[in-house]
Every structure is written in C-alpha cells, then in structure tokens.
C-alpha cells in the first residue's frame, strides 16, 4: 500500500560480504569500546560508604534546631502538623518549669514530637510553616528499616545535637 505521508523509507537489505560474514571485526570493535571504558572515570558511587553531594534545595530527614545557646527552638505551636498534607507530625506540648530555661527557648515546648517517616512525603511545608525556624529538612536520606514502628521518629532522633559542648563530658 502506498504511504500517505511519503516519508516512508524502504530499507534495502544487501547480502553480507565476506568480512561481515566472519563477524570478527564487529566483535573486536565492541571489545575496543569496552576496553576504552576501563580508563574512563567511574560513574558509580558506592552508596553507603560514599555519598553523592546533595543539591542545595535537597529535602531529607527533619531536624529540630537549637538556638545559639543550645536551647530547643520548637515551641509546639502545631503549625507544622497543621500544614502537613500527609498528617505525619504529632506532638504533645508541655509547660517549661523553673530551672529549665537553658533547655527550652519559650515557655512552652514539645514534650513529645513524632514524625512518621512512612507518611512523610518530604514536601517541606512544615519547614515553611514554622514561625520559630525550628524544623529543617536538611538531614540525609531516611534509612531503611525492618519494622513500621521504627519509622516513627521521636525527639531522640530529630533534635540536633548541641553544637558546642562547653564543659567536657565527665569520664570518657
């Protein structure tokens, strides 16, 4: 049948000549390409040992920040949980007692703060909603795990370590 577009190419198949029928030149040609790649830079990154550099707007695991004096910034206002489209964040607020001023920045703090990493879609809305600049998604990739319950990250995993410990830890 005639082509409507007139762009149909008819391929002509010539019978192979002697060298082509030998197949050896084509094999060597392929081997040469493979050999050449041995001297090129490797593109593979061996992930757990080596990590690829993250882009500037990378959103990874959450971290709850501390201020310059090492106090927790989070005041459990609930705006992150409100903005979360996946409903991954829950918290329980508590009142700061006397003598805890060096631990918490405001008079209210999050006694329990949990993020369900299986629910989280890493959209970064919590980061945007936070009025206290307390939560940032600046961590690494959230590691895999075996149990569902281990994906619920509490404050032990989320709160960042104090930046400079002024007094050295007693003992070791």
């Amino acid at each position: 049948m005639e082509s409507l577009s007139n762009r149909k190419k008819v391929l002509e198949q010539k019978p192979m000549n002697f060298w082509e029928r030998l197949y050896l030149p084509a094999i060597f040609q392929g081997m040469a390409i493979t050999f050449k790649h041995m001297f090129k830079k490797k593109e593979t990154i061996f992930y757990p040992e080596v990590e690829r550099e993250f882009s500037e707007n990378w959103r990874g695991m959450h971290s709850l920040k501390r201020d310059e004096q090492g106090r927790e910034r989070c005041t459990a206002c609930g705006l992150c949980a409100l903005s979360c489209p996946a409903e991954a964040i829950t918290m329980i607020a508590a009142e700061r007692q006397k003598g805890e001023e060096h631990l918490y920045r405001e008079e209210k703090y999050a006694a329990v703060y949990e993020i369900n990493m299986l629910r989280c879609i890493f959209c970064g809305l919590c980061e945007e909603a936070c009025p206290k600049e307390a939560i940032y998604l600046d961590g690494p990739i959230v590691p895999a795990n075996y149990l569902r319950k281990d994906f619920i990250y509490g404050k032990d995993k989320l709160v960042e370590d104090p930046i400079n410990i002024e007094s050295p830890v007693a003992g070791n």
């Binding site: 005041t75 459990a76 206002c77 609930g78 705006l79 949980a81 409100l82 607020a93 508590a94 009142e95 405001e106 008079e107 209210k108 009025p131 206290k132 075996y146 149990l147 569902r148 319950k149």
Partner: protein
C-alpha cells in the same frame, strides 16, 4: 414604637430602629460591610469606644443635615440618623486608619501566637491578618508583666492585653461583686484584681470568652492542645445556674475545654457558669447536639466534619482485624 430609619452602608440600604449604632446597623446587613470590633460587645452594657477598630466614614450626616462628619467616627458609639450614608470598606481613608489602629494595638503585644492558647480564635490575629502590616516599626522595648493567676482556673497574661475593658464589664455586670478592674492610667494601665484576689463568682469564667486576645485564658486548657486540632461540638445540660448551652472542644474522646457558643461576631450567645466551664468535662454529663458550625475561613475548620461521627478510616471488619494482627506479629518477629 417609632418609625424606622434608613441607613446606607457601603451602598447597601437597610431600615433599622432609630437610636441603634452604625455597627449594629451594619451587623443587620452582615457580610463584609460589618466593621471589626475589638472592644464592643453587644451583651455588655457600656462597652465599646476604646479600641477604635470600628472607625467608619460618615459621608452624609442625615436627610436633614447632609453635611459629612468631619472626622472618622467609631461606629459602635455613633447612632444612626435617617438618610445617613456610611462608608466602611469602600473608603480608602477608613482602611488606612484601621491599619494605623492595628499598628497601635500591636505596639505592646508580644506576638507570641505560637505559644498563646487563643491562637486560631484570636480577634487581634484576624484583624492584623486582614489589616495590619507584616512588620513592626516600633523599636522600643515592649511592656511586659508577670503572669497572674486569677483563681485556680483563669490566667491573666497582662502582656497580651489590649485594654478593651470587656472583662471589666463582665466583672461589673455579670458577676455582681467586682474584684477585677483596671489600675493605673494611660500607658501604665493594667487589668488586675485587687491584690490578686481570687474571684469565686459563678460567672467569672466568662472573662475568658469575652477576651478578644489571649490575655485571659483557661488554665485547665493551658497548653493542652491547639484550638484547630480540637473538634467543637454543641452540647447542653441541665444547669441550675445558667442555660447550660455550650460548645465542647473534643480531642479524640476527651473534652479538653468548654466554652460558650460564639456567634459570627465572636460574641457568646449565653454566658455560662463556672461549673459548666471547668468542672463538667465528661461526655456522659452532656447531651450532644451535633458539630458546631465553623466558618470555612477559620483555621478551626481544618479537618472539621459536618457529621458527628465520621465514618471510620479503617473498617471494623473482624476478619480484617484478625488478619492484621497475624501480619503484625509476623512483621515484629524479625
């Protein structure tokens, strides 16, 4: 009964009783032409005229004297006249003035909304969101106060107060014996009970409901939860002292707090007694009427259902539950 008078507010004509204020005339129209009010409270006699957020422009005094009023007037304190023409949101002058008023109200406000229990139902928050600037031009130190416990149920954060005097009128008119008033003058004035005396009148808890900001808050609800995570449900009970018509704020199965039912202007329909507010927080003590209607512009309407008991997310299928249990045991074995 005398004849009704005609008032035009933002081009909408309404016939109202003579002698009522422009604000109340606007409230009869409803919608966007209602000026915001921080201090005026229709159920409290003598309230109003203090915050100046309800400023409007009267472009025509009346039918007999059509001259405009020389300055912007407080609509809660200005009576209507026949043939009066009022501009509220149609006048750029009013919008500009309101912006200034909000800035003045926020001068000493600590802006600790992330901590404040009133956030989400705070009138000052709504007002500054609609009219205010995103930043402050005030460089000086804001006045601060220590927190005062008024009795064991009410807490006073004087720092957040905008001196609307609503609570003082409640103390005056509803609780009878006044133990709560304003001390000092001008910049130094503050709400106080004399020598922090506990008020034990049955209706003292209403100062929480009338407070437009978070200056007077419920201590039994302090830091329990955010307002927008709780579910408001209308309920009533047989109460010997008050009408017993309240809104219960649920979190799960638990009643976190009890408030009066607030209408569209943020005013309670009936004042409720302290027993209803603080001491009856069990579902069994109330007759549930249904979920409270919340304006969809309010943050409280987030995750708010119109049905009392929304359908369960997980079906109550016994076979499924059993299968889930087996699957869970298998998963936790590792």
């Amino acid at each position: 009964m005398s004849e009704k008078v005609k008032v035009t507010i933002d081009g909408i004509t309404v016939e109202v009783e003579p002698g009522i204020s422009i604000l109340n005339a606007a409230r009869q129209i409803g919608g966007e032409v209602v000026p915001p009010a921080m201090c005026y409270y229709s159920k409290l006699e003598g309230s109003g005229g203090k915050c100046r957020t309800c400023l409007v422009k009267v472009s025509k005094g009346s039918e007999k004297d059509p001259r405009p009023m020389p300055k912007l007037v407080a609509s809660c304190r200005t009576g209507v006249m026949d043939g009066m023409e009022v501009q509220n949101i149609t006048s750029p002058e009013v919008i500009e003035a309101r912006k200034g008023v909000v800035e003045m109200l926020l001068i000493n406000h600590p802006l600790d909304c992330p901590i404040c229990d009133q956030a989400g139902e705070c009138h000052l928050q709504d007002l500054s969101y609609e009219h205010g600037l995103a930043k402050t031009r005030y460089d000086f130190e804001r006045r601060t106060f220590e927190k005062i416990d008024i009795g064991d149920k009410i807490q006073l954060h004087m720092t957040r107060c905008i001196l609307c005097y609503r609570c003082v009128y409640v103390a005056d008119q509803i609780t009878g014996n006044r133990v709560h008033g304003v001390l000092g003058r001008g910049d130094a004035s503050e709400i106080s009970t004399y020598i922090e005396k506990a008020i034990d009148n049955d209706f003292s808890g209403n100062v929480i409901d009338v407070c437009p900001v978070g200056a007077l808050t419920d201590r039994t609800f302090r830091f329990k939860n955010r307002v927008w995570f709780t579910k408001p449900v209308d309920a009533h009970r047989d109460c010997p002292t008050c009408k017993g018509k309240v809104t219960l704020w649920y979190k799960g199965e638990e009643v976190l707090r009890v408030t009066g039912r607030k209408d569209q202007f943020g005013e309670v329909e009936d004042f409720i007694c302290n027993t209803c507010r603080f001491d009856t927080k069990k579902t069994s003590e109330w007759v549930i009427e249904g979920p409270r209607n919340i304006a969809n512009t309010s943050v409280i309407s987030a995750n708010h259902y119109e049905t009392l008991r929304p359908l369960p997310v997980i079906q109550n299928d016994p076979i499924l539950i059993e299968a889930n249990k087996v699957e869970f045991e298998r998963a936790t074995k590792i």
